[in-house]
């Protein structure tokens, strides 16, 4: 098990180094000078140069890369070009919205998908199964931003139960914060739940045909007991993979949903930073997301080993 974790850890580190080089390189290539952008069309050339020097943009790319990486290692992501505040603080502030949003959406999607997927699998071929599969098909097909707009129309504009968007801040109380995240979380969760339910169903159906399931039934277990004790555990590997992928998607992929609900989260931060050429913010947020994805994958790898003892021994 230790060796398994160590190999996973070293591949995690290598991925991070490669990612940092790729991100920095790509952002260097994008045309657009942050200083010229900030000063607009009436600015004089010497003013732009003065601002470039102030932002440290006159240093060589290699020097800037090392300054960026060495800062990140110590938790210092640098200072935003446009906002002039530490990037670390900005990210921390935005994470307080994006992280709860992703977690709520993930919890919602899992809570919906598991029972639905299990139900569909155990009643395979029945009318229940067909109806469930029909709905999940719809859930996968509907784009989440469109679903979000629909929810705003119904619950914010017509029923007035929720605000159309915005975030009052956690200082206004847990309830106000959760209320503001409800519609966005549902919009994010629904397509994810549909995908997860379908994966759950097909993974479970695969294991239901296995010999050990017949043995379990022959031992005298009911269908329900056999599923709970033997089939579910075996079906978890593909499901875990999908959950891992979904979490990274929810964290990074909320860009559109955050725009629809004008939530000040990470997605909106990166969206604004790209258009304003706030390169250091873009680099740092993307790096953080890469880090999150890699760490989640690492956690999923560990989880595989926990549910499947064979993986532990092999490594």
């Amino acid at each position: 098990m230790t060796r398994y974790i160590l190999t996973r850890l070293s591949s995690l580190l290598i991925s991070l180094v490669i990612a940092s080089i790729v991100i920095f390189g790509l952002i260097e290539i994008i045309p657009g000078d942050p200083a010229a952008f900030m000063l607009g069309i009436n600015a004089q050339e010497d003013t732009i140069d003065a601002l470039r020097a102030e932002l440290g943009l006159d240093a060589s790319p290699i020097a800037r890369y090392f300054a960026w990486v060495s800062g990140m290692v110590t938790g210092d992501f640098g200072t935003s070009y446009t906002y002039r505040t530490p990037v670390t603080e900005m990210i921390a502030e935005r994470l307080w919205i994006s992280l709860p949003l992703a977690l709520i959406a993930l919890a919602l999607s899992t809570l919906i998908a598991f029972p639905v997927g299990i139900l569909a699998a155990s009643k395979r071929g029945s009318i229940t199964d067909t109806v469930i599969m029909g709905f999940t098909q719809l859930g996968v097909a509907i784009p989440n931003f469109w679903f979000a707009m629909l929810m705003v129309l119904v619950f914010a504009i017509n029923l007035r139960w929720f605000s159309a968007g915005g975030f009052p801040g956690w200082d206004d109380g847990l309830f106000a914060g959760l209320k503001a995240l409800t519609l966005p979380a549902i919009s994010l969760a629904l397509p994810q739940a549909s995908i997860l339910a379908r994966v759950m169903r097909s993974a479970l159906i695969d294991t239901l045909d296995e010999d050990f399931m017949r043995t379990a039934r022959a031992k005298g277990l009911t269908q329900r007991q056999a599923i709970r004790r033997h089939a579910l555990r075996n079906a978890m590997i593909p499901v875990l993979t999908i959950i891992g992928l979904q979490f990274s998607f929810l964290l990074a992929g909320a860009i559109i949903i955050e725009n629809v609900f004008f939530l000040p989260g990470l997605g909106r931060l990166i969206f604004q930073a790209i258009s304003q050429r706030d390169l250091i913010v873009v680099e740092s947020v993307v790096m953080l997301l890469v880090f999150a994805v890699i760490v989640v994958n690492f956690a999923v790898d560990i989880a595989y080993a926990l549910v499947d003892p064979r993986l532990r021994r092999k490594a």
């Binding site: 900030m38 000063l39 004089q44 906002y83 129309l153 914010a156 915005g166 931060l269 258009s275």
Partner: protein, 490 residues
Amino acid sequence: MKIKTLTSVFALMIAAGAAQAETGLIVGIQLEPPHLDPTSAAAGAIDQVLYSNVFEGLTRFGSDGSVNPGLASSWDISEDGLSYTFYLREGVIFHDGTEMNAEDVVFSLDRARAEDSANAQKALFAGIETVEAVDPLTVRVTLSNANGGFLFNLAWGDAVIVAPESIEDIKTDPVGTGAFKFSNWVQGDQIELVRNEDYWGTPANLETATFKFISDPTAAFAAMMAEDVDVFYSYPAPENLPQFEADPRFEVLVGSSEGETILSTNNLMEPFTDVRVRKAVAHAIDRQAIIDGAMFGLGTPIGTHFAPHNPDYVDLTANSEYDPELAKSLLAEAGYADGFTTTLKLPPPSYARRGGEIIASQLRAVGIQTEISNLEWAQWLEQVFRGKDFGLTIVSHTEPFDIGIYARPDYYFQYDNPVFQTLIEDLTAETDPKKRSELIAMAQTIISNDYVNGYLFQLAVPTVVKAGVEGIWPDAPTQAIDLTAVSWSQ
């Protein structure tokens, strides 16, 4: 029971929404200010939130674009027009409690024109030779050349008076003299201002003013419809304005802005070096079709680079009337009977993206093929504005009274006319209002006759306002949302 609890929870939520006290105002705007220093960035959002509300200059713009006394209650101008003596108001106190005096004015103006200044409109201060404090309430500014637009220049958001003690943190904690104080900024979401109880002038009616940043047009519609915001300034989706007009809960104000929207032409690129080609382009364009198709009917046609609401405006639209046949014959005369191909580079705003498609098809009708490329602002600045690598582009020039850009041969459309340059020099030096008007009219006519750019329309600013909100400026003489006189009707 469960349903009952739920219902009461929702009832509470609704009550909380309805209890929104009528002493505060929530204003939706599209873009968030990058920081809060109007004197070191071009972003219009900074002025929208802070101009007049938090920061004031020696002079200030009125709702009609006129220049009025601000922190200076009056001034004397010397005979030769070189020396301005400003008399400051008494008892003006910065939001941090310190007094505003002549030293602060000297500091602010010197900072703006300093060598290492990051002021985006540094040219406004170019003619200043010295700024000196005569006594605590008197400032004398000496210019190297007479400048008839100097008081106008001082009214810009880039020329506001800042407190030296607070300059270190101005980007996150702005300290001004205005009727509102900066209170709180939730980055990515909103900025809150509160009433300044120690204001020197008429205090604001509103106790709080909150600016919310909603960039997505659909989200803007939803926020307005759900009454999450009271005012949406420069509403981004003109297609649903009729819906607001029909709804008694709202009012739609369509004001004019300082944004001359033009088909900018690279005057140094073949074949636009030939005035006949530029004239052909001008006659190939059907302005009204662009206004109707791209702007849902909002916008006033212009025939030169000047705002139609300005008293000195000359209507020169007849100079470039829609006449595709004339355009074709002009092209033939210039040796392009079979037309030519050029680039059309479009920045993100809808006037450019939607307008660009329409212009491309109008140009195609006279034989001019365009290769359209959609650019982000940062790319546009780099390629078009600084790199001058373009044939045509569409952009709205939102700075007030900016006809002087035509006197800068290195400006991105690269128009180099010594006659015009001398005229602008004379205009700058002229202080007599009547003679200024004449010169301004001449300037408009020259660029119109030279077909420097395709003049399309003056950008309109639609603002959606909740019924009961009074005092919102309909027009946008500068990029400001002056809330000092806004109130809720009883």
